[in-house]
C-alpha cells in the first residue's frame, strides 16, 4: 500500500473521501507485472478530476508508484483511490486542496473459467441507480447505490445484478457495463444520467466500429434485453463475460463474435 508515495495503511479521519465520498477510484488489472489499459484508466481519472474540480495529479508520478507495486506480480488487482484530501467540517471544498492518492494491490479474483465458457446468470436489482448528470460516467466514491444493489442477493450462482434508473432505463450491472447484440448491432446504454463509463466498455465500442458491428449507445429498456440475441458484461477485471441467462431468457453465446472476445484479451496485453 502506498499513500502519497509512502508505505502506509491508514488515512486521517479528516479525509474528504471518508467524510463525503469526495473522491475517485480506478480498479486496474495487473498482468505480467504491469497495470493494464493504463492510459484509458488515466483518461477516465482525468475526467473525474475535472468533474469534481480537483487539480490534476501528476500521472507520471502515479505511473511510477503503480509500477513499483505491480512489478513482480504475475496477476493481481491495483486499486487507486484519489480523494480531495483533508478538510474541515462542511461541504465546501478547501481551496486550494491537496488531493490524496492511495494505491493498493489485491489478489486476482480467479473467476471460474465456466463463466467465460458457458456464461453467467444475471438478475434484476430492485435498488434503482441514482440519476445525476454531473456525476454520470465518472468513477467516484459515492457508491451506496451499488452497495445496496449488491446486498440484494447471496446466491453465489448469480454473478451480477442489473441496475435500472427510476425511469426503468437499463444502466449497468452493479460492477460492470452491459452490452446487447441484436443482429449486426452492438448496443450499450447511454450513461449521460447514471452509471460508470467503463474502460473495457470504451474498448469494445471502438472495436465494434472497426468491425462488422454497428455500435449503438442509446437508451435501453428491459424489453431490449429480452429481445437481444446475446448479452455480455464488461469490467476491467472480468474483461468480457457472456451472460447465459437473465430471468426467463437464455442466450446463445455463439452470437458473441469470437473476434470481439479475442480483441479484448489482446488489448490487455498490448495496452491500447
Amino acid at each position: 500500500m502506498l499513500i502519497d508515495g509512502q508505505p502506509a495503511d491508514q488515512i486521517p479521519l479528516t479525509d474528504r473521501g471518508l467524510q463525503y465520498g469526495d473522491g475517485l477510484f480506478e480498479t486496474i488489472a495487473i498482468q505480467d507485472g504491469r497495470p493494464c489499459l493504463w492510459q484509458r484508466h488515466m483518461r477516465r481519472l482525468q475526467k473525474g478530476e475535472s468533474a469534481l474540480g480537483f487539480p490534476p495529479i501528476d500521472k507520471e508520478l502515479l505511473w511510477q508508484e503503480a509500477h513499483k507495486l505491480c512489478t513482480g506480480r504475475q496477476q493481481g488487482v491495483l486499486k487507486i483511490v484519489l480523494t480531495r484530501g483533508s478538510g474541515g467540517r462542511g461541504y465546501r471544498p478547501p481551496d486550494p486542496c491537496q488531493p490524496r492518492r492511495m494505491l493498493t494491490t489485491h489478489p486476482w479474483p480467479d473467476y471460474p473459467q465456466s463463466w467465460y465458457d458457458h456464461g453467467i446468470v444475471l438478475r434484476r436489482c430492485d435498488t434503482p441507480i441514482s440519476r445525476q448528470s454531473r456525476l454520470a460516467g465518472i468513477k467516484h466514491l459515492n457508491r451506496l447505490d451499488q452497495v445496496l444493489a449488491r446486498a440484494e442477493w447471496r446466491d453465489s450462482a448469480i454473478v451480477e445484478g442489473l441496475m435500472m434508473d427510476e425511469m426503468s432505463n437499463v444502466i449497468s450491472g452493479t460492477q460492470s457495463n452491459i452490452f446487447l447484440i441484436k443482429g449486426d448491432q452492438l448496443i450499450t446504454p447511454e450513461l449521460s444520467q447514471a452509471g460508470i463509463a467503463g474502460v473495457v466498455r470504451e474498448l469494445v465500442l471502438e472495436f465494434a466500429g472497426q468491425y462488422s458491428l454497428h455500435p449503438q449507445v442509446i437508451k435501453v429498456g428491459l424489453d431490449d434485453l429480452k429481445q437481444a440475441d446475446a448479452l455480455f458484461i464488461t469490467n476491467s477485471i472480468l474483461g468480457l463475460c457472456p451472460v447465459a441467462r437473465f430471468e426467463d431468457r437464455q442466450y446463445d453465446l455463439s452470437n458473441i463474435p469470437s473476434e470481439l472476445v479475442k480483441f479484448v484479451e489482446n488489448s490487455y496485453r498490448a495496452d491500447v
Copy 2:
C-alpha cells in the same frame, strides 16, 4: 477524537466509508457540555442503519462516548461518523460486518447575529440533487451532490444554496432544510426521493402541528418559493435562520412567528 471508543485520528484504508461512502453521519450541536437533541439524532441514525442494513450499534455506548467528548465544552459541534467498517474489494457488504464509529468535536461556527436578525441570502444551485428513494431522508456519506453544489459560489455574502432535483422539485439547501410560510401554512418539501430529513425540520413540523400553522409536507416548486410570505432554513447547528432574499424576491421576516423561533431555541435546551 474517538474511534471505537479509543483516542485515534486515523482509520484503515480498508474502511468502506472511504471506499464507497458506505456509512452515515450526524452533526450535533453541543451546548453547556451536552449534545443537543440527542434522541432525535439517534432516531435518524437508526433509520440510516436500517436503510443500509447495518447491525444497530449500542446507542448507550455512543451516548457515553459523546458525553465524554462534550463535557466541559460550552459550545461546539459533535460529529459522529458510522461506517460499515473494514472490508475487502467489491461492493458486497461483508457479512457479518463490524461498523466503525468515529466521534470528533469541532469549534462552534459563530454565525453572525445579523443572519438571525436580518436574514440570509439564498442562491439557486445548478447542481441537481440525485433522486434515489432508497437513500432519501437519511444522512449517509454519499455527499458529492452537496459538495459540487457548495463549490458553485465563493461570495461570502451568500450563505446557502438551494438544490432541486432534475424534475425541478425544490428539495433543500446544500446543508439545510427549507421551509415556506404562506398564510397559515407551513410548507416544506417532501423528501421521499431526495434530501435529508433534518432533526430541526422534524421539530419545526411537530411544533407547527400544535400551533396555529398547518404543516404541509408536499412537492415544492420555484414558484412556491417566489410566492411565499416568508422563507427560513434549518439545520442542527444553525437552528432556524430566516431568508431575507432569494433571487429577485425579498421576504418579510416578521411573517415568521416569533413563537416558532423561540420554540426551536428552547428545544435545544430541553432536548425534546
